[in-house]
Symmetry: D3
Subunit: 312 residues, 6 copies
């Protein structure tokens, strides 16, 4: 016998026949399946300097996709046929950091090796996950350019605490994965970094844009500029979105919140513009801590960042 009404718990919500929610286009990856966008979870935040629940974000961001639809009114384009493949999450080792970093790099690498999709979204976790993720992209795609939205340089020394969430770009540069001149940082905020690391950025020719730059030049202008800096010399462009680049009013769920950051509109506009470039193959979204958030606002913003990146 079959049932007249019953549906699996997750699917029993109201369905309007003409509306496709983004999460309805996300299906588990299976061997040889291809799609448009690959999604992977990197639920690791034990390496955060301050207490972080960013490990919960891959779940909440996926869930937030269920609140929005595949149709862009601005472009009058429906992306309901764009296929999102969910490669699942990397299981975290409870006590061995090195093991978890290895698992993440291997898993992103394995995902890329499937060549199943055109673009990939990595859902952190804290910013420490960018080290294994970008390393895997480098192995696969060659010289890599990175656009990083962040209040912080993330160029801390490694001696004082190992590979914490304050160190990914230092690690990438010192391991030779990324060249300083191929890294662009947007949204660097006052009183949120140390002089040593700002000096390190300069010495390595990292392109940094502070909030004062954003106020004076405009986020569109800056975004355009960083794309131009990277497009000719890099084989691929990777976007790294630390949500704390955004003002605490718009992203209250980040561990290191503060005032004076980007508005949600500024971030979304900037990510959308960058994502149109054909070299963009990957994006990570990090530092969303759902345990500190209000009504999943920061996960919702992250979901919109995803949509702006995917639907170009």
């Amino acid at each position: 016998m079959s049932f007249q009404y019953l549906k699996p718990n997750r699917n029993a919500r109201f369905k309007d026949r003409y509306t496709t929610k983004v999460d309805e286009t996300l299906t588990p990856y299976e061997e040889r399946k291809t799609g448009d966008i690959g999604v992977i979870g990197l639920p690791f935040s034990k390496t955060s300097i301050s207490l972080s629940g960013a490990s919960e974000a891959p779940g909440t961001i996926r869930k937030a996709l269920g609140s929005y639809s595949t149709y862009s009114g601005e472009k009058d384009e429906d992306y309901e046929n764009m296929k999102l493949l969910d490669f699942g999450d990397v299981p975290v080792h409870p006590t061995d950091t090195g093991e978890t970093l290895k698992r993440m790099q291997t898993s992103v690498k394995e995902m890329l090796e499937t060549e199943a999709c055109q673009k990939y979204v990595m859902l952190g976790g804290d910013h420490g996950v960018s080290f294994p993720s970008i390393s895997a992209f480098k192995e696969k795609f060659g010289r890599i350019g990175v656009i990083q939205w962040d209040a912080h340089h993330d160029l801390r020394n490694i001696e004082d605490g190992g590979r914490t969430n304050g160190t990914p770009f230092r690690s990438l540069i010192e391991e030779g994965v990324l060249w300083g001149e191929d890294l662009c940082q947007i949204g660097i905020r006052d009183f949120s970094n140390a002089k040593t690391y700002a000096d390190y950025a300069k010495k390595h020719n990292i392109h940094t844009y502070t909030m004062a730059d954003v106020e004076q030049k405009g986020i569109q202008f800056i975004t355009d500029q960083v794309i131009q800096k990277l497009e000719n010399k890099c084989d691929t462009i990777y976007l790294s979105v630390d949500m704390d680049a955004v003002d605490q009013a718009f992203a209250p769920g980040c561990p290191a919140i503060g005032p004076g950051g980007l508005t949600a509109r500024e971030l979304l506009g900037s990510v959308a513009m960058a994502s149109q470039h054909p070299l963009v193959k990957g994006m990570d979204i990090v530092e969303v801590d759902p345990t500190k958030d209000f009504r999943d606002m920061t996960s919702r913003l992250a979901a919109h960042v995803m949509m702006r990146c995917m639907y170009t």
Copy 2:
């Protein structure tokens, strides 16, 4: 004997003799009483697609009026003598949706028939209340133009779930109450609607302004434009303010929150400008869910929307 100090619980708060709080000017309607603004509560949100406590909003918005004063510094005008008449709330039937819709339409109609006021404010409730409310206005005032601030078109089909909060303007159009060309939608947001309904809007000549329009043209310009579209052909103008037109940072208490919406200042400026037009006879404020809000921020914004509408 009389008491030296005792006052009813609600009036025992501190009173500065020179300050009039808005709620002090709100008194219950009684037969043959006249005033300037009529206020009615439509505390119904059982027809919401997602779980909604918008039914609590008429109470919290009225309470928020107690935090603000009748004096506009911008205009150097004190509205302490403007009389607000409270027509009370429509009692909701716990299980019969149709009955509740009928009660709401009848009650708004009865309120309008008193001809006690120049302008009326309907406090929802979810957006479903606009269907009976606008229907009643139509009956009383003739051809009706509507300015709707909303992230969503609210033009869903009715087959899939009846008259939910996603359907009011579809219902109004299909029932012949409202013509598509008399409807202006401001703040329509990306990834928040289905293509089918955007197409429906076009087909029915609904005037829609997206957030990209707001960013490019400015909210003032758009507001001015919609007023011009309506003022010549309609007998009256009705404002319908769905608070989720506003960014989640400024209106965290709506059921369907998301990033990238209007700022509070943009909404207030737009409502103020529209409300100055003499044809504006009614406004509803909907989709404020106090059970999800933080410190009644969304009800407070709704109270300011009221003040901008009333004090012109």
Copy 3:
């Protein structure tokens, strides 16, 4: 190629090889599959008199099962091989109450008709779901005895608001599904009911045990007594657990909380004792509102109620 580490999002949590979490034993029902316990979600609470988010409970209770293991130390018995079949959730009609009630009764009936399991757990929803659920049990199993843990009689008249969550047992009695003498109510609380309904209970020979009875006679004694009252005359026994029978300190997430109720230990002991009886074929758990809860405490208690009922 296959992946070394990647797992579906829900399964990426830490796994101790010797520990079986209860949710690991819950698998979706498929045709002709049999098991020990059938689980179904009845996510409906629009008929609640006060605003209720009990519709969210089937999801949170299932999730809470993931925090507990299949092993009972008290009995030194591991239930890891007991199979829980998940029949999914009944989709709710957004605006048509009657339709939803019909869907629920049909779906419970269809589940019972599979004869796949020995015992069934219905996850509400508000207490209104017991009307269709018990009706379906009656159709399938014949004369039905009900043990209801509740602060309230739930014998309200239907004229004043239709089949709300205050009416299920009145409805069942008046529809001839349940006889008053086959209904036992435990935990009835002072100042939480109307005299009319207490009189109705008496007139229909309903067995009621108040909190004073619990304090004086002990919950074990009472539970034993109600079992004796039902076991000889009924074909089956159905347990209906309204979580608001429990004191607000132990079940803070019910819509109608109050002090002076059962402790968590009292409820768990009572349910465990009753569940051992071979006539017990079904149990519903209702009035858990996760949107009002603290740290899912009430859903956790509900999960323990389930375990006490299933693992006998």
Copy 4:
């Protein structure tokens, strides 16, 4: 014209024709009106040692009365005809403590002078309100016996901070309003008082019962004992219920919460027993801080304390 449905905002809630909510029996006092129970609000907590929002409690406790009905199942008695007269609240002076204390004493006195009721309930406010309240009772009724449920002696010296909420009973004794031997304290908790004040209690022959006494002798026995101590020598008995006598799990909204206190059932049973005595003419409920509470649990408990006291 009259309206078919519209009701004042506060009355638009669902009404079951057979159920009387306690707040429906509470009406504003008017000259020469008589009733059974007088209720007055003393919304003052600026004198609290730690930050306190107890000034909000008179409103939330009254509101909590709307969640419960007038019918006692335990006694099979409906109190719907018992009339509660609301004398309103005493307005607090924002900066002058002495003035506020005077207003409270005067107002309680004026209420008692109306001789409108048999019994009076004073809703605090912090425990400091007992000083003016009991003083007024003394003036009206003569020698006064007090039963105080409290974790603390409230016998602090006045030199170190004036008449704070830690001093009311010291003040009453030193002003000659109350004799030590006429004061009974139940629920005094370990590590919550200073030796000096315990010694003061002994020296003034105050009857104190600690939580160890409650565990060993039982709350019923103790309650019976204190009644016996007071009934022969006093002209009237006054109950003073500091909600922090209750364990933090059952009364999380008190400023000075802690573990190891009374259960809700113990407090309710004790208050009910004491209130049956014909000498009991007044009760205050203090130290409920709604701004720190969870779901108004502590106000709900306070409402039940009121009902146990009123409905004897």
Copy 5:
């Protein structure tokens, strides 16, 4: 013996050797010690008209300094050698308002008399603390100019409630401490003041800038203008930052929140610009209520206000 690892509780947090947190530069004042910035806490908010926990702010703002570093990337300047001296907090009298006002004025005066620093930051408390604080500055430095960021005039009459947090500037003017023409108010909001007080402002030649002024002229222009108004005629300039000048989205922890205020960026830019002027010797930050805040967002904004003022 000495310990290899152990550190005092507050210092056991992670330390990056190259990063100096602002709180690391804050040390207790000792006799004859000198520094750059003096910090004092005025933890008093019992005089607030509405319930206020602003008394907790001196602690939370100091703690927020621990989240930010001494390095300004915008100026490429590290302020790690700038010495902040903590003069401690003024103990509040629990019941005697006048005594507390006296203690505050004396303590600020004593701090200024040490001549230990160039600039001083006073951490409120409610806005009532500006009366004793500015009075002390006047005594020490002569004619004083004040820039006040505030939604409100704070010019209420004193008869109706004494020196509440609505009265400081009225009190200062009437006591002859401050001349109206030396007071500039930025951010005055609609429907947040009474006409009487706006008239008082005009009559006393107070310079007021409303939110409409901010929208039209820009915050930078206005800030520049007020500095020009004060710099020639005053001996010193005092900044008084009432955080409720900021929109509720950016400063949700103020007692009197509302929509339509300054953004965080506008406030920070304005304070930074004003603070550069050499006449600025003192700043108070008031009306931050940590008990109502979300994730100390408002204290974090206050910390940034401090940094913008100190690091010029």
Copy 6:
């Protein structure tokens, strides 16, 4: 010059001259200083299986000591002269678990080697800290008996995740630090453990008492029994209090909450009884997660556990 009123921020709170708060008796350890009780913080919870903020507990528990006084009314004994020495906190390495475990064991050892106190309290952190702590006690004091209050055995295998918070007693047994027969577990809860680990407990002659044992035999009887089991064969007794032994209603801030546990009174009575034994030299309190707590209720309970242990 000296100040008339100013006090360091932490000491500016109200002081009653006759009351000594427990935190006033806690002073930093300095070389050769002796006292009665040594206190050390082990703020480590990165090894928790589920996300844990127990690392914050040493701070919040110390702070909670400020809410209670040194006087026990039950014993009529003031402990104001008992000296508590604060040895500070062990700094955690952000990414190297092994290093942190080593630091903790070394630091506890160094503390014990000072021989400054009679008894020591270790404030966790998650239960993983008991492994280094008990190891240090063993080195110093010889054969060690452990009384563990816990819902869980904490005897998990180490292969599946290393030394997590589920493994401390397994680790201690396998490292030969502790013998199974010297370990007593009280409060073991149903459906909270795996059969394998219950079997391990039996095989190693661990004494386990479940919640059913507590209900049937009483907590006093059990406590007495475990003391008798340990006092003759062990050189010292160590108490290990996992707060999740307590029901979620009384200890809502533990990571692994659930219903059906000990009441606060049961735990306090049991710890008090055990602590009187002269062999008890150490106690740890673990699994308090202040980031999940409500009003620091669980830290407050932990503070009372400390007082019951210290003040014997």
